[in-house]
Symmetry: C2
Subunit: 200 residues, 2 copies
Amino acid sequence: MARRSDHSRDEIKAMAIAAAAAILARRGVQALSARQVAKDIGYTVGTLYLVFKNLDELILHVNAATLDELAQLLREELHRHVEPQPALRALAQRYWEFAQQQHARWSLLFTHQLAVNAKPPAWFATKVRQLFAMVEEPLQQLHATQSSHERALVVRALWGGVHGVCALALSDKLRWGEEVATPELLDSLVTNFLHGLLQG
Amino acid sequence: MARRSDHSRDEIKAMAIAAAAAILARRGVQALSARQVAKDIGYTVGTLYLVFKNLDELILHVNAATLDELAQLLREELHRHVEPQPALRALAQRYWEFAQQQHARWSLLFTHQLAVNAKPPAWFATKVRQLFAMVEEPLQQLHATQSSHERALVVRALWGGVHGVCALALSDKLRWGEEVATPELLDSLVTNFLHGLLQG
DNA sequence: ACCTGAACACCGTTCAAGT
DNA sequence: ACCTGAACACCGTTCAAGT
């Protein structure tokens, strides 16, 4: 058992977030529990509640880390491209890659509902916004939007769409009749949407 | 307490499915448990396990009922339209309406992961397919697809997209910076996708 | 001051025992 | 034959008690 003062509050926090992410990656969302996280970092479950208000708050921080990692991946992908259309298609593929490889962590971003009253903190919304900024950049280059409202509309519609194709693919809801590979679906969605946008 | 032979196996099944759907509609997914369902139908929790293999199987049937209801709503909407493009836009709006009004039941369709090995039964995949058939019909009318593969591709890309916009909107992930109403997002997605498809 | 460990009110699931 | 109710192995969360 870890003795007192072995770790600072912030160290315990970071250890717990890392342990939770590892559980999600290795054993899935079903295996994530406060007791298991506590065990993995060598403290009792009570200690977790000295450092986090509750399990929801721990998950919020896990999700924040996931958003950061995902934004980093998309940023790297974005910098590999000059032309906006190939960039957007590649970002969609990268998003799918992450969703597939980190299924549990990715889906927890969207399935984790905070308590009915609670709104996510501002710093969390900022991280979400930073993710969308990766998509906004090539969209701006296309010069297809006039107003700021139109830009807000287009980035949300396109990325909402990409997200949905990935979500349905991972939930196995697209596997009936003819099989279609997800990368091809994403390419169809992005390409057709952008064509429509540029010609409308 | 209900006495033996008060209800047949099938009656108990139907009561349990209805009770579970009611819990989801009134109190959300957090409130759904085998014990609560049993209480609501006047049996003990043990009886539930005589009739369902486990809670996952009960949820599978709840989801089947949700798919039927949703397909019925979309079918009614579809029959109100003659022109394919307005029909597809209206179907997207109807999907959003249902997702919003029946948040817990709708999201359970996608968040409920069966055990790692288990594939959903064929009758469940059939219900999913019937849902997509509502979208396939107006898409066929557009005569924009050549092969059956292309039709399979387009229906999945478009409806995956619509699904994703609804999913992100309900998970509050689109609420930063400028506010954009979801119906407007869906219209942008469907309209641009179809324009791109018809002109590509 | 920091952490434990037991307690409380819940879970899903099983199954001997009752009617 | 049908159903119960207690048991088991888990949960999240709290908090008096220990060092």
